[in-house]
Symmetry: D2
Subunit: 383 residues, 4 copies
């Protein structure tokens, strides 16, 4: 409704502006008994944080998370988990010229048009800084999925006109984090890096796309139609700032395939269960998971903050203005969006797992720490 909540049973609620006091996220619906520490969250935040390489903004944010609630002796209790990440390197002054003269293609104007005002430092609430909250929540989701044999991975498969060849899931696991571009095909990563450098030197920016995949998701998840798996995945992906396309399976190309070529016969798998002979369907049939890997792709337009001279108008003075967006900005979005995509995919899957009753408390292997507060009923019938 108000844009700061995601998830039906695994509920994520966020707040924060780029240059505000702090970012915050509340996770409720997390099963009890999960071992969880700030380190589990920090590991993922570090993948997303600014200043990690030459192709990211130089803003110096340690992005240190503090967990305020929801734990007992290092294990989740089933009650809400509140997390806060202080903003430490905000320099709002540079944004004064844009207060009433919107930066081209940013959210400055639309936020003011919607609310009649806005927090303007560093883009305020419209900044991608908000995604730090999602990665924090996604880290919890990812840990639970991992204990259920579900793996989620993404990598950058195109930057500008540089396109990576298809890679295996294993290659994604192995190579994605090896380079700053987060492309799992090292030779392509090299070319991408060069292309990014070129645009950065020209004071320009460039678009790109990310391929994502999830393995081990059980069959039967998704509630067609309005809560089908693709519908909720679409909402999740289009929530990420600057996303302009989302697809799964054959995606946009599907329009050129015939039914005969795309249809997949049913076979029996090793256990004697029906399984499609291929996975052109991307793990989804009728809006519900088939048990095959779910895969897809999403596109990000070029960052709109560029140091080129551009034109704008000041709605206060009625004057036209030259504008040059200073600040510390990324020349391309996908490399830092990879952990965000993984977070949103994890949150989407976990939510469906909970709705489907597929989370097994025993796999969380939690104890209640020093004091065993756990209550084991003797009379199962009552449970």
């Amino acid at each position: 409704m108000n844009g700061n909540r995601f998830g039906r049973l695994f509920q994520v609620t966020t707040y924060g502006e780029s240059h505000g006091e702090a970012m915050g996220v509340t996770v409720s619906g997390c099963p009890a008994g999960l071992e969880l520490s700030e380190e589990d969250i920090q590991r993922e935040l570090d993948r997303r944080k600014p200043g990690q390489s030459m192709i990211t903004t130089s803003r110096g944010e340690p992005d240190e998370v503090v967990i305020n609630s929801g734990l007992q002796d290092g294990y989740t209790t089933g009650t809400p988990i509140g997390m806060v990440i202080q903003n430490k390197d905000a320099r709002s002054g540079k944004y004064e010229p844009y207060v009433t003269a919107p930066r081209p293609s940013h959210g400055d104007f639309t936020y003011s048009a919607k609310f009649g005002t806005r927090n303007w430092g560093g883009g305020g609430r419209s900044s991608a800084r908000e995604t730090v909250n999602w990665v924090a929540a996604g880290a919890i989701a990812g840990k639970i999925l991992d204990q259920h044999g579900i793996q989620v991975k993404a990598h950058v498969n195109q930057i500008g006109d540089i396109e990576a060849p298809p890679v295996s899931f294993e290659e994604m696991l192995e190579h994605t984090e090896e380079n700053e571009v987060r492309c799992a095909h090292p030779p392509t990563a090299e070319k991408m890096r060069e292309r990014i450098d070129q645009y950065q030197q020209e004071g320009d920016s460039i678009g790109g796309s990310i391929y994502f995949e999830a393995r081990g998701v059980p069959r039967g998840l998704g509630a067609p139609r309005f809560d089908s798996f693709p519908a909720r995945l679409g909402q999740a992906m289009f929530s990420i700032p600057a996303t302009t396309s989302v697809e799964y399976g054959l995606g946009k190309e599907a329009r050129e395939w015939t039914g005969k070529d795309r249809n997949e016969d049913w076979e029996f798998d090793a256990e004697g269960d029906p399984i499609p002979e291929g996975n052109k369907h991307g793990g989804l049939q009728g809006g519900i998971t088939t048990g095959q890997p779910i895969y897809g792709e999403a596109t990000w337009h070029a960052p709109t903050s560029i140091p080129k001279q551009q034109k704008t108008v000041d709605w206060e003075t009625g004057e036209e203005k030259e504008i040059q967006v200073v600040g510390r900005h990324d020349p391309v979005l996908p490399p830092r969006a990879v952990p965000v995509v993984e977070a949103m995919l994890s949150l989407t899957i976990l939510d469906f797992m909970l709705l489907g009753g597929r989370i097994n408390p025993d796999r969380l292997d939690g104890t209640a720490g020093e004091y065993d507060t756990e209550y084991h009923p003797s009379s199962p019938d009552n449970e």
Copy 2:
């Protein structure tokens, strides 16, 4: 949650299976004072109904809607509008062979995997027949939007490898309904029709895509991030059966554009308001509407019901089987999906209009009919 509800303030709740007793949809949150009759709904249902041309299924459904509640003397009262559409030409018998032997690439297996059972006649709940409910609800939404100067239109822009050139909104309004393919570019429509005939004769089917556009949507709609306009549009479009990609603005191509080329300077419009110099942004910046036309595209894979010989397995008997999907089926989805896309786009926009407080009761120009039940308070302060 359960997949049969769409919308936050304009709430649509549906039920029904392809060969069940009836389809039903409840609309709540519709403003009071809208003149509404079954004819308003019927007009749109007729655009979606089966048997309307040679390239649609021959199933003979009149799709006659009955309004059970929510009106007084022909005007809405603000309370829930219940509608029912009886199913009249169901022939479930033909589906018996598929009960435990899933049709290739259909939802048969995933529904059974999710629920442990399913309504199997005609695809049951997984059938696109469900969209009759959406078109009924969308007809109400469309009427309200129309009274607020908002126009929504879609047309088929590609079938297989046959691609239509870009057309204007006016061409869409004029030509879309002129041909069975619902392509607003008549010469291309002709070619599409031929290509469809060719696949149909081969016992095959083919994919395609739809371009959609909305004009007159006011600036300031959308609640970033999880309820941004693109996020809710993505959910809406991916709810439609067989959708495999959704994009807006430059869409997937945005990955090859630089920031400099994609960014749009701000100018003043005739009234002195800031306006972007172009609309490569597709009417959306920062997840919020700019007031420019919203446009995008979505893809549908080829219908999976084809009379070709295919293979499946029977999970009851453990046998492999030959399967030939008989029944009455569409050789291509987009022509009949056009009114569905328009319905989902209308529902999405109206919901945001209501959330943004932009619906003006005075534009609904309703009276309360023969008896003026309208209450006009004399003391506006209390209102």
Copy 3:
């Protein structure tokens, strides 16, 4: 939001006016595999229906339910269940004088003040006729609860100044349906009946209250605070028209009890589980069920439709008017509200059961009928 939806996972959506075409209710989230027929619903509707005795309205509604979807061979499929009950004995003409001259203490004025109009025949949407939908949905919930060993029962414990002594759950089961007043204490029922007759003869009406109880509800249900069991029970009970108080456990009297007297020591039950030594807590501690019976009470004010001469004003003409509410009305609400209270209590409990993962598909003992569409995966790990 719009008042026609109840439940989080077991979702009930309703429509209909007293004198409209039909009443309708959509139930989604019902587990698959429940044997269900129109007779299961009808049995409960007959307990609520008008004209069942001398102390209810004489309106002649058969209240016959039709199930439009959600079943296969007599078993639920997990997809939405749509039900319709036609209105057959509506006589709106009698309500013409009240269109712009609101009946005293009815919802006529507030509905018109809210919406600017209203469906005015028979009270329209404000009529208690709406509860026929709830009883239909509650019949499904009750059947599932029954299969899980949960029993829900209510009876009328006070009418005017005639108060019944406390009765046991067994007495409620045995005696409630024996008399028209639905009081489980037969001698008191007799007195209540006389008192009601007296008011009815005087052209007056009278208030009353209902005691309700649920047995077999497992411990651990409820999500404090805003979704605590009492919070959702409070919402459910106050949804019923004309309810003015709701309480559980010691209720309002609790204000006169000391902590020492109200507190209950913990003991071990037969299975060795902790159990409170008594049940002054009404089955709820910290907003969560203890496993002890949940009990409480709610009050209904006197029906506002009485044939006495009263005064009103006409907002159209500006005149004061004498008014005598003709029509067919109940002289007291609780006797017919008993099945409604049971329905709302059942819906509340079942929703918490689903949220707590306590519904056991095996207890639903469904098969898939003639054709066993059930899919039993061979590879449980994937499930």
Copy 4:
């Protein structure tokens, strides 16, 4: 769903345990342009905070709130407001004996039964400390209501057997905060204080009740049935820990009133609008506000933490135990619950005001501070 969210458009999300790191609350849906500072929140928190008098717990919590987001130059921006209140005086050690031996009539057992574990220090999540979040959110709601001419007030009207006579709204405003008991009838307050002292000296505690009232609420709010005003008020009040009854208008007494005596004729008010001749209906008819004052009452049972010797069982050791609940506790709940009741009533009303489109941005009289970021469209048609 998970118990930590309240409100449909004005959304409150909370976290925190009694002895956890911090309490936190996120408010989204707050209109832009409201002048807001930490002092506005602090003023209300100070009314609820522990240690404020001899009849409250001696726990020393300053309850200092920090606002982390949602403001620009001291005015709200329409985006989420994140607030944190650190816990400073937690002494969990004292709770060790109760980890597996639940305190009588507390939430210790039910939380462990629900989650299999719990945060046990100071009652953890089950502690009334959570209500500090509600009072923080309610302070924002109250400020907006105040600017719309709506006043909300509560006072303690009964403690044990000491009952206050009815008082006027003006007396509530004048006297409630004058005494520690928060009873607006000073002579009764004195007696209540003595009675509380007596129980406190005996190592016992006592129940009580609160009368609440709201003035200036416009007619037409509430969405019958499941979102009627009483239904949502019931949910709100029963969310408060230890509430055992809620009523409005004549409440429980309504069962002894006849229709003739309770019904209220309609008259014209000074402006010529229909108005009921009295307010026995408590400001609500048909579940919708009439414009008359809304009033009601709720009951709290005695605090369960008492230093008396009691009995419990240890589910770990299987032993019976003597237990004496040490810690710092209130001998009676209503005095500190008064600001909590006002907060929940304010949140409920504001939510309905927003749903009804009744919040007037102009009354918020905000400017955008030093920099006027406000955007005033020149073309109203587009707005």
